[in-house]
Amino acid sequence: MPWDRNRMAARAAEELEDGMYVNLGIGIPTLVANYTGDKDITLQSENGMLGMGPFPLEGHEDADLINAGKQTITELARTSYFDSASSFGMIRGGKIAAAILGAMEVAENGDLANWMIPGKLVKGMGGAMDLVAGVGRVIVVMDHTNKHGESKLLKQCTLPLTGKAVVNRIITNLGVLDVVEGGLKIIDCADGVSEEELRTATKATIV
């Protein structure tokens, strides 16, 4: 059985270490916060907050307190607020240990594409280019294949890049792979997925 969204998020949470400052992207990466257990993790929201808390209870929403996905959130005892220039100062300055984000394509050299499909509506890159260029470690969480069943792990990206040679680790529904010299290295297979199946489903070079 390949991993579902929650199992992928749980696997991604294993990447985080006690004391880390981390930025989580929208989608499956957001679920990672549910699986950090006893680890002391501080979440950054790039619109200007460290120490992001859970969604508020109904009736406790505050228009002045949102995350980077524009959802209402809450603060914690450790929370601090700052402006966008400071926020991206800490991102660009390498103070954020890791970013976990989704992707459309990842190439075997770590190139990442996740912000635009030519000919389709382009909404913008938001903070994605800054994050992947700046943080200590970039972990991609995504389905292994697209809706046509084609590998999203490629020799070269076909879509416009978000960052060049920026990805460190990829967690998919089929397993975990690292970007290493010469291609991708299999670190883990999902439960019941064989290494052979993982290789067959992957277009990128596996070393």
Binding site: N47, T72, Y81, G89, D111, V122
Partner: protein, 234 residues
């Protein structure tokens, strides 16, 4: 020194010209200068270039100025929530310059600090780097980005004293300080203006030197994505 004006329209008097560059604070609909945006709409100023992380939503925030065709160009990082924006952009009526979010914030900060350009790794090897000077520092590639100096900055804060010292509230701070800094003239709208001596000087987020005009008003503060959780069972 009197920086306080009674209405947003009065605060804007004499500073609006067609074709000007405006830097606006806010992230999504959080911390946007909604009163000043409404007043600019009423003033009818045209051919505006607006540097703002987002472009509002249909009919609210900067979406109002798009609806009234007052904007020629947007400099933004994300514009996803606005159908009218997309319609004008796809039909070629509206120009759009995408900036990575941190690059946009730093362009504003730098412009306000007298820094005409800076090198960043953000966007290296992507379309953002096209046409930009690049340079190796310690073996790593960086691209040159320009500081932004705006003709006018419009920002929203929580509290001000009458000298223009500003305090923001929670994540409504966002782009407001860098946007304020990069304007030749900056107008701030706030929820409350208090007498000087009331704010703790150690708690001022943006010193009044950056703020030329002030207006107090009531804000709608619309929520874009109201998200809640259920009470946990004990």
């Amino acid at each position: 020194m009197n920086k306080t004006y009674d209405t947003a329209a009065e605060a804007l008097d004499g500073v609006l010209t067609d074709g000007m560059l405006i830097a606006a604070g806010g992230f999504g609909l959080c911390g946007i200068p909604e009163l000043l945006i409404s007043a600019i709409r009423n003033a009818g100023t045209r051919d505006l270039t607006i540097a703002s992380n987002n472009a509002g939503v249909d009919g609210f925030g900067l979406g109002m100025l798009l609806e009234s065709r007052q904007v020629r160009k947007m400099i933004s990082s994300y514009v996803g929530e606005n159908a009218e924006f997309m319609r004008q952009y796809l039909s070629g009526e509206l120009e759009l310059e995408f900036n990575p979010q941190g690059t946009l914030a730093e362009r504003m900060r730098a412009g306000g600090c007298g820094i005409p350009g800076f090198y960043t790794r953000t966007g290296v090897g992507t379309v953002i780097a096209e046409g930009k000077e690049n340079k190796l520092f310690d073996g790593e590639e960086y691209i040159l980005e320009r500081g932004i100096v705006a003709d006018l900055s419009i920002v929203k804060a929580w509290k001000a004293d009458d000298t223009g010292n500003l305090i923001f509230r929670k994540t409504a701070r966002n782009f407001n300080p860098p946007a304020a800094m990069c304007g030749r003239i900056c107008i701030a709208e706030v929820e409350e203006i208090v007498p000087r001596g009331t704010l703790d000087p150690d708690h001022v987020h943006l010193p009044g030197i950056y703020v030329h005009r002030l207006v107090q008003g009531t804000h709608e503060k619309r929520i874009e994505q109201r998200t809640t959780r259920k009470m946990e069972k004990v």
